[in-house]
């Protein structure tokens, strides 16, 4: 699972499952807080999920500048290729 599209699909599935979102709302430009109502406490749970499916250590700094689903996908892509 290395291409952007594959990672994005996996992230979308995770967000849909974790937060009961509809798949069509999870677009790359969707903002986590304003559009998807994912607040900072939810992000902690999200980070835990990302840690589990990447098998990599995830820190708060990795997530600090994540605002949109695209940002999130890029962070995960970076983690997987490190």
């Amino acid at each position: 699972m290395q291409t952007y599209e594959e990672i994005f699909a996996r992230i979308r599935a995770t967000l849909v499952e974790l937060f009961e979102l509809s798949p069509q709302d999870v677009r790359p430009d969707a903002r986590l807080l304003e559009d998807l109502e994912i607040d900072s406490i939810d992000v902690v749970d999200l980070m835990d999920h990302v840690r589990r499916f990447t098998g990599k250590k995830v820190t708060a700094t990795d997530f600090r500048s994540v605002r949109t689903v695209d940002d999130l996908t890029q962070v995960v892509q970076r983690l997987l290729s490190s």
Binding site: E17, L18, F19, E20, I38, D39, I41, D42, D45
Partner: protein, 269 residues
């Protein structure tokens, strides 16, 4: 001690004649005096009793600071009533103060936290940053160890700040998250204030045309098992938040005469 309103309009403080009731001018003095008493007492405690308590080991400091806070708040309520600034009633207060309890209350007025602290033994409280940093309240809340940890009762206002009058409540998920993750018991407290006073939209000197009456009703505990069994914690906290909203929307109108939205149209704003 219960002030029985004659009509819903009067209960909401809407006076068509513009008459000022219940010794309006004295109440203005009484309200100003109450603020002064609160300020002076807080200052006095901050420079005498509470610094002495800080010399004790942390657990004891917290324990005694909270006793001081509770007694002080109780006395202050007595002062406000004695001066005639307000009246109040409390229901089922014996249910407050159980270990591991999360108390989730609505927040109509500046002084509703005073009721909760006065009636909850050994309470901890989540305060907003401004309170933590303020010269007046900062050292008091720090000595009492406010901002939670387990084994005590934790008071939270899910709204995070006072209700905006005339608007629906915004419940942030902080309280819901704590509830589903770590609370042993979650108890809602419904606070009503008729007519409203010391709200977010009014300066303190705009006192209401009638003497305000506070109602503090401790509600039934939430059933947490249903939420803890849900697929994920974020989902559980959202579901719990909705449940909390339903409870508040269901119970508050009875304490206030009617809902905020209705009050807007009935009173003309």
């Amino acid at each position: 001690m219960v002030a029985e309103p004659k009509t819903i309009a009067q209960a909401a403080g809407v006076e068509f004649t513009g008459r000022r009731l219940d010794a309006f001018y004295w109440r203005f003095v009484a309200t100003a005096l109450s603020f002064a008493v609160f300020g002076c007492t807080a200052l006095l405690l901050s420079v005498t009793v509470l610094p002495l308590l800080r010399l004790l080991p942390r657990q004891r400091c917290q324990r005694y600071s909270r006793i001081v806070m509770q007694r002080g708040m109780r006395a202050f309520i007595g002062v406000m009533c004695g001066l005639g600034a307000m009246t109040y009633e409390v229901h089922a207060a014996e249910r407050l103060g159980r270990p591991g309890q999360l108390i989730a209350a609505n927040h109509p007025s500046l002084i509703d936290v005073i009721f909760l602290i006065a009636f909850t033994p050994q309470a901890n409280c989540v305060v907003k940053q401004a309170t933590f940093r303020s010269l007046l309240t900062g050292s008091v809340v720090r000595g009492a160890g406010y901002i939670g940890n387990g084994g005590q009762s934790l008071i939270m206002f899910p709204e995070g700040t006072r209700t905006r009058p005339g608007q629906p409540m915004t419940l942030h998920r902080g309280a819901a998250n704590i509830a589903v993750r770590s609370a042993a018991i979650v108890t809602p407290v419904y606070i009503g204030c008729v007519p409203t006073t010391l709200t977010k939209s009014e300066p303190w000197y705009r006192i209401p045309s009638r003497r305000p009456h506070f109602t503090v009703r401790v509600g039934e505990d939430f059933e947490l098992d249903a939420f803890r069994g849900m697929a994920s914690i974020p989902l559980a906290s959202r579901a719990f938040n909705e449940c909390l909203r339903e409870r508040f929307e269901g119970q508050l109108p009875a304490l206030n005469g009617y809902t905020c939205a209705q009050k807007r149209t009935a009173g003309g704003g």
